[in-house]
């Protein structure tokens, strides 16, 4: 009896010990162990050209090779050519790419075409499901699946943040004068009316040294702002029953008119500003507010200023003076993002999968989002909570908290079949807006273009995709 008890206890100990050991192995370790059998293989991964690709070139690629013996060939492709290259490879069946970076709004097109490998079986085989739960819900629930299958791991916490100059907003004289004029506190704007009033007030007081705000205005950036503002003001892109475009109603007109009017309190020539122009103006202290992706916040704080790869970023004159907030109306656009996927034509699917699991895992991704020279933004709950990240600069904790909240409330980019065409119509429309064309006429034309695209894709096909997209929690404000 005693012997049997001891034996049972030993068996239980062995079993629980074993599973505890297994539980100790995180997704990164599992991927590394499994990938060792592919040592000597070379896998290729499509990555956005420029700063983004410094991650696999300088950090994750060499590290993966050291850990597993699997070489990584990075295929750098400009963003606007990524979709084409991926589709060309798929259509030709060349199998030149194993792993892919995919913009989530492309997923319906790529998945329907069969260009992406469904990942569910690998996720189960290599025990990754639990760690996927750590990815912030906005990305996990909206950017990972199509038609109920996993086609990519959200790997970039893109979301728009409002950056503002705390030193100006907290200046007692400015605060008093502002409150006397408008009857409320000078603080990050809660809506676009406040934004306009604050922007105009600062421009009136401080221009040309400092203007109230500055935005990027050249293609393709402003269309993300339009998508957010249009929905937050109550707009719907389509009539869900007929799939007729409804962007040309009163809401669209209101948003267009507001966007145009705001240029007046922004620096002269703002209509020509791109990502870098806007960044330079904010970092040099020329604008008091701006809205952009998370890297602005890191660079404004001076994070990574010594990096060779970031020499093109102007030295921040506003380090320690920048506050972070939700965009007006509180539901920021998630704006682009990246998923990691496996090409359906890859000849090394499992090896490619293991690499993206390792990249995306809690452990590795935390290191990657802290690389100062790349553009990957925090996207996991563990990233937001990381003590190390939260101490990278004095305001890093506030920065991460704002990203987390923004992500939770984030609005999805419109994602339909042939989404690029709708994006192009919006981009062209906004470009015409800056050129002084009648907003109503522009919106009418945009709606006609939307309808023509929908008709070409097939109304019923598109209706089904729109229905799925519109039902997602981040599609329209509830």
């Amino acid at each position: 009896m005693k012997f049997r008890t001891i034996l049972s206890a030993a068996a239980v100990l062995a079993l629980t010990g074993g599973s505890a050991l297994a539980a100790d192995k995180d997704a990164a370790d599992i991927a590394v162990e499994a990938a060792k059998k592919y040592a000597g293989t070379t896998i290729s991964i499509v990555w956005e050209a420029g700063l983004q690709s410094l991650d696999p070139l300088n950090y994750s690629g060499p590290k993966w090779e050291k850990l597993t013996g699997v070489k990584v060939k990075v295929v750098e492709v400009p963003t606007d050519q990524m979709f084409t290259k991926i589709m060309q490879d798929f259509k030709s069946g060349a199998g030149a790419y194993d792993a892919l970076n995919v913009i989530p709004s492309w997923m319906p097109d790529l998945a329907r075409a069969g260009a992406l490998e469904p990942l569910d079986k690998y996720v189960d085989k290599f025990g990754y499901r639990d760690e996927l739960q750590d990815i912030a819900a906005a990305y996990r629930d909206n950017q990972m699946q199509y038609d109920g299958k996993i086609y990519g791991f959200p790997d970039d916490g893109d979301v728009m943040l409002l950056y503002y100059r705390r030193d100006i907003f907290e200046d007692p004289k400015m605060k008093d004068e502002f409150k006397a004029k408008f009857g409320y506190e000078l603080a990050p704007p809660k809506d676009w009316k406040q934004f306009d009033e604050i922007g105009q007030f600062i421009t009136d007081k401080m221009a040309p040294k400092v203007y109230g705000a500055g935005f990027f205005r050249t293609a393709p950036y402003p269309q993300y702002m339009f998508q957010e503002r249009f929905r937050m003001e109550g707009g719907k892109f389509f009539n869900a029953d007929t799939m007729k475009a409804t962007v040309n109603g009163d809401v669209g007109l209101k948003v267009f008119k507001q966007m145009l009017a705001e240029n007046k309190f922004m620096p002269p020539g703002v209509e020509q500003w791109n990502f870098v122009d806007n960044l330079a103006a904010f970092l040099q202290g020329t604008t008091a507010m701006t809205i952009s992706w998370p890297p602005y916040g890191r660079w404004a704080a001076g994070y990574g200023s010594g990096e060779e790869a970031l020499k093109w970023v102007p030295k921040s004159q506003v380090a320690g003076k920048v506050g972070y907030a939700l965009t007006p109306l509180g539901r920021p656009e998630l704006g682009v993002g990246f998923d990691l996927s496996v090409s359906a034509t890859s000849k090394n699917k499992e090896a490619a999968y293991l690499f993206i699991q390792w990249l995306n895992s809690k452990k590795t991704s935390l290191e990657r989002v802290q690389l100062p020279y790349t553009l990957r933004d925090p996207f996991r709950l563990s990233h937001y909570a990381s003590e190390k990240y939260r101490s990278l600069w004095p305001d890093a904790a506030a920065y991460l908290d704002t990203i987390k909240t923004s992500g939770e409330k984030g609005l999805l980019d419109l994602s339909l079949l042939q989404q690029d065409k709708y994006d192009e119509a919006m981009t062209k429309a906004i470009s015409s807006l800056w050129a002084g064309e009648d907003p109503k006429a522009i919106l009418e034309r945009m709606a006609q273009q939307f309808d023509a695209i929908t008709e070409k894709v097939g109304i019923e096909n598109q209706k089904a995709v729109y229905k799925v997209w519109a039902a997602k929690p981040g599609a329209y404000p509830q």
């Binding site: 606007d80 050519q81 979709f83 084409t84 589709m87 060309q88 259509k91 097109d109 329907r112 075409a113 069969g114 293609a219 620096p267 002269p268 020539g269 209509e271 020509q272 079949l417 042939q418 690029d420 065409k421 192009e424 062209k428 429309a429 470009s431 015409s432 800056w434 050129a435 002084g436 064309e437 522009i442």
Partner: protein, 307 residues
């Protein structure tokens, strides 16, 4: 294996049938690889594109069925395509005469010889060796409202800040493109016309001068007829280049604001590589080929260069 025959008493070795056949066909055999390669890289894509233009191929769908003339019918309903052809015509109609005029005036300036002529000629043709995309990007910086030297120069003369949004304001966007285009390609006209002017018969010019003919009379009666063939060829080359203008506009405006400066090349690129309409893009290409063939034939006929 040869057969000997006697001709006029002299015995010659006559090639065999195979030898004769080889001799007859040797030239063809020698050029055959080159022709084969030309057919493969030139004709095959053309024929294949023609077939594709009758299909329903897009990058995002797997349907490759034949649709007959559907894509060609679509061309006539596509207002953006016709607008882009209109933009191309506007740019060509303005830039080509300007390039010709500026090139001619420059050539006139240099024809009589001047100190350091060789150096100036070399400097003047520099823009033509720059890649158009680089030229466009450089001019975009020149036109920048904040840092661009053009705004600063205009501000200096105006005595107050001049802020022209060259690539945004509809009133200035065409002038910006034309300035960039003429800056880059007028030197090409200059080079051709300088060479042509150098070959005008000096004795005729001297006789006209003795007769007291005015400059304009000499120009009209002697110089222009003498250089007319060169002008025609130069205009044809530049005209065709202007019809397929892409790089400069892409770098300067990307076809904007809206689609205001979108030329047919830009539109074709957008349809093919941004919107992935493979078959429709092929149809556009054939429309452009047809239009260009028609225009070129008419122009050549008009200029009597076909003879």
């Amino acid at each position: 294996m040869t057969v000997s025959v006697s001709l006029n008493g002299a015995e010659q070795r006559r090639p065999s049938r195979f030898g004769r056949m080889l001799e007859d066909r040797l030239p063809y055999l020698i050029v055959a690889p080159a022709i084969l390669i030309l057919l493969l890289v030139g004709l095959f894509p053309l024929i294949y594109s023609l077939i594709v233009s009758f299909q329903r191929i897009t990058m995002t769908e797997n349907d490759t069925s034949f649709v007959g003339l559907l894509n060609y019918a679509e061309l006539f309903r596509d207002t953006r395509l016709w607008a882009s052809l209109g933009h191309t015509a506007i740019i060509t109609a303005i830039a080509l005469p300007l390039e010709l005029l500026v090139g001619f005036l420059m050539a006139q300036l240099f024809i009589d010889g001047m100190p350091g002529r060789q150096i100036f000629v070399a400097l003047l043709v520099l823009p033509t060796v720059i890649s158009p995309i680089v030229a466009g990007a450089t001019w975009r910086l020149m036109f920048d409202v904040r840092f661009g030297p053009i705004g600063q120069i205009l501000s200096f003369f105006a005595g107050e800040p001049v802020r022209i949004l060259w690539t945004v304001n509809p009133a200035y966007v065409y002038p910006a493109i034309i300035i960039c285009e003429v800056w880059q390609w007028a030197p090409f006209m200059f080079l051709l016309l300088l060479a042509a002017l150098s070959n005008v018969d000096q004795s005729q010019l001297e006789a006209a001068e003795i007769d007291g003919a005015s400059y304009l009379r000499v120009l009209r009666a002697i110089v222009l007829p003498a250089i007319a063939p060169v002008i025609a060829v130069a205009c044809l080359i530049r005209g065709l280049d202007l019809v397929r203008i892409f790089d400069i506009i892409w770098a300067l405006t990307e076809g904007g604001p809206g689609s205001m400066t979108e030329t047919v090349s830009l539109y074709t690129y957008v349809q093919g590589f941004s919107q992935f309409e493979t078959s429709y893009t092929a149809a556009i290409s054939f429309l452009v080929i047809a239009l260009l063939t028609l225009i070129t034939t008419l122009v050549l006929k008009r200029m009597e260069l076909t003879r």
